[in-house]
Symmetry: C2
Subunit: 537 residues, 2 copies
């Protein structure tokens, strides 16, 4: 009998909670993974350098320097202003999976400088990769060959905030956590949150249409972004930095840039509608016997919590095992659950009245106990527990990376079919004899972990191998995309296409879509100079 | 002392309320206004017919009929299958303001028929106007000259609804109220509501990016629409009818069609995310002494009601006077307020727990009373009162139309500056000696009424004249657009551009924006055959 235990644990913790301004939970700083992580073999684009692009030279560097207010805003191995090591942090992605060969990094300080640099590059035929916090997972912000890296970290000013409307305007290079902390001090919240918040840029978030942890509550950036300032490939500054919640005067151009992954323009500033920060926040985590139970609890959470439900995340026992192992290696040995399960779910609420929220949450908990849908559960009683419960979910990617070489997939399918994809993948790997287990004690696949954002139908599959091999990749791909397509799903729910998924767009988009996309790319960037070899190729 | 009155009135009504499924409030059926309404003089486009368009003939009609499954799907004055009177309902807008001269109306029954008709028209060079419920306010759904009217009312099937995800898929010609009633029976709500819900089509709502009454709560269609099926100008069917909440595989093409006003494709079906219907709804209306008080009450409502605030509407005493007169003419003489004010605001809440919602609302009301921000207030105690309170706001446009010829403007500016536009307009009309009053007892301007969606910064200005004259128009326009532009506002917050505002886009969009928009139009519709003479001209 586990049900009574939950009540007693919850009762003992007495529902004491403080408002969380700002949320003090762990951020997954995108530190480089261990060398057991990804190798560079074959993972980049297989497309050769385009012959019609100009190769960067010392002459270009000299001329580019005249466009910048500071000499430090351009570093290059060509003129010796940087060592290859210094450029590596810009050429490589944080997983150490993709490796560009750019000899030049430019870091303009103003939109006007971005414009001048782009105009120069466009006129000269120099290819450019825009780069924000470089925290992406599909190689979108790294060069494939020798494209010039245009890094936006020097565009980092908050331009304005209106506490009446909640409209926040800031440079693209502002770090998400900086923006959110600024807003927290004023009682507001950035309507997006994700693990990499300590490093990622808000401009990059918009360029990649980041989804993250609270899309369920605040909706997608297509709804919350009100305006953008963008430097087009030819250097034209498009001022679409509207501060209006409603504006029906023509095509909503900014929407094209949201999720365009830097292929048709460089976002230099954003205007976004920020809601009031919930004054009461709660988080609980449960162990459950089955995926069916997770789905049912999701339905009950929507019924009982209604408008205060702000996140509903799930993970399987394989994900939890990875996190536990990672925590144990870091000296954290306390067990969270007295009874573990095959599945886990995390429920967060955010509302304006702590008493009401607690009443709603208590009613849900009491209902869940009588329904036997959950095995065990823990409710955070303070901000430290709030953080540690969130860590169980947020540490999964990092824990998987520590455990081996990870094949990461990010898909969306209808909620009911979501976990079936993980099971199908596990079954395939077992049949192919590569899944670690009784008959196969040495791997090479150590774990297949499934987790994600239940509320958004967004599943992450992490396949942990002892090392990367073409043999394993061929077993996984394109099979994983095929089973997504069978369910009319998306092969990239939130990570984007980048280099990694560009060849597979046909699994989620029909020919007409791809044709229209190519025309749009060509409309903005007829020379194809911006972020080439990626996205729509 | 008015404060104690409110408490007693509210207390006496004892906060009894029933869940509202579906909401039984009045819908403004777009019946034609009286002949005192708009005249057709000059209000349409001044652009001459394009010489490169083909004039429709009897031969075209014969060939078009072969593409349609029913002979009744095409009516025309050319072959005598319809009288001019029968076509008038399609040629005219519901305000009787815009008057097209099309000899042909086609009403396809399937997406495939729409495709065949479009392919035929594209090949022949025949211009086409897509038409939904024909409830727009800017002449967007009526022909300017002899364009063929492609009416979507025969595409009226609900295709699917998933109660787990809340995803609703339906033909474009489904009437908004039909969709909402269907969802209400299943415990869900269409995330859009507006006065014309009894006639407007969901496809037209998306094509015009309708805003309406609950944008404050559910956000814009750019966030809630998940997918579209669109017939492109050349007849190609683009199947972008995604049922995924997240999909980052390339440019989000559907966004271009949201708010495109039928200029680059014909929306034939939509997929939209519908939230659970609030099980508890409340509405209250207040009289207030000043616009400053309205703003303060808006801030307090956000603080006290948080996530349950679903609408915050305001109107001025001139708007209320128009409604009272209209109601009196219809035999409704009960007074709502014991003390009237210069301003009024309507506050709606929608939540999942009636007890909690009432507690929040009561706390707000008690706070407002002690702060003296409101003069009087009424809280609905049942669904009839819920409806009659909403009517005070929703009847304004109809009441203005009954009072004379109305110049209607729909703008957005920052909330703090919003009402200043009405005052400036009134001042200008007074200076020009056209405002009815002590020195000018006969008009010609009988009233200048301001009302709108406070939460969205969206103001409607209705200028009621005894008749339409060029003299008055020149006093109002482009002055009204100039004062909007001075405040970096939008000359069309939610009504769209259509014919009416196409010439004025420059007041809200810069040259780069307009240039990009023209390129997008040309990309999809190089012959310019779809909904010509409008939008971006």
């Amino acid at each position: 009998m586990t049900a009574p235990r939950i009540i007693s644990r919850i009762a003992a913790r007495a529902l004491r909670r403080s408002p969380l301004h700002p949320l003090p939970r762990s951020t997954l700083a995108p530190t480089k993974l261990s060398p057991t992580g990804y190798t560079s073999v074959r993972l980049g684009s297989t497309l050769p350098p385009r012959a019609d692009f100009t190769k960067p030279t010392e002459e270009h560097i000299k001329e580019l320097r005249t466009l910048l207010s500071s000499n430090a805003s351009l570093i290059s191995t060509i003129d010796g202003s940087a060592t290859p090591d210094e450029l590596q942090a810009f050429n490589d992605d944080w997983m150490n999976k993709y490796h560009g060969k750019s000899p030049i990094v430019v870091k303009p300080k103003t939109t006007e400088e971005v414009s001048k640099v782009m105009k120069y590059c466009y006129d000269k035929g120099l290819a450019v990769v825009p780069q924000g916090g470089n925290t992406g997972l599909v190689g979108g912000s790294n060069p494939v060959h020798d494209e010039i890296i245009l890094n936006l970290s020097n565009l980092s000013h908050i331009r304005s905030f209106d506490p009446v409307s909640g409209i926040f305007v800031a440079d693209a290079g502002v770090i998400l956590e900086v923006a959110d902390n600024y807003l927290a001090e004023r009682g507001f919240i950035f309507p997006l949150d994700l693990g990499a918040k300590g490093s990622c840029h808000i401009g990059g978030n918009v360029a990649t249409n980041a989804g993250g942890l609270r899309l369920l509550r605040y909706g997608s950036l297509h709804g919350t972004v009100l305006g953008l300032e963008v430097v087009l490939p030819d250097g034209t500054i498009w001022n679409g930095l509207s501060k209006l919640r409603k504006d029906n005067t023509g095509f909503d151009i900014k929407q094209l840039f949201i999720g365009s992954e830097g292929t048709i323009g460089i976002i230099t500033a954003i205007s976004i509608l920020c809601p009031r920060r919930p004054s009461a926040m709660n988080v609980a985590v449960f162990s459950l016997p089955s995926y069916e139970a997770v789905q049912k609890v999701f339905g009950e959470a929507k019924t009982y919590l209604g408008e205060i439900l702000s996140a509903f995340e799930f993970f399987d026992k394989q994900s939890y095992a990875l996190v536990k192992k990672h925590q144990e290696e870091n000296g954290e040995t306390r067990s969270v659950f007295e009874q573990e399960g095959d599945f886990y779910c995390l429920i967060e609420t955010g509302g304006s009245n702590s008493e009401h929220d607690e009443a709603k949450l208590t009613a849900l908990l009491e209902h869940l106990l009588t329904s036997d849908l959950v095995l065990d559960g823990v409710l955070a009683q303070d901000s430290t527990q709030f953080q540690s419960i969130w860590s169980l979910r947020e540490l999964i990617p990092e824990s998987a990376g520590k455990a081996g070489s990870v094949y990461k997939y990010d898909v969306s399918v209808p909620v009911g079919k979501m976990y079936g994809l993980v099971e199908k993948m596990r079954e395939r790997l077992r049949k192919e004899g590569v899944l670690e287990g009784d008959g196969n004690p040495e791997g090479p696949i150590r774990a297949v972990a499934g987790y994600g954002h239940m509320g958004d139908g967004n599943l992450h599959i992490n396949i942990v191998a002892n090392k990367y091999t073409e043999e394993i990749e061929k077993i996984i791909e394109p099979y994983v995309y095929e089973i997504v397509a069978e369910n009319e799903g998306s092969i990239s729910a939130e990570h984007g296409l980048g280099v990694m998924k560009a060849p597979y767009i046909g699994y989620s988009q029909n020919e007409t879509s791809v044709e229209v996309m190519k025309k749009i790319k060509n409309l903005f960037d007829p020379k194809g100079l911006l972020n080439p070899y990626k996205y729509i190729v």
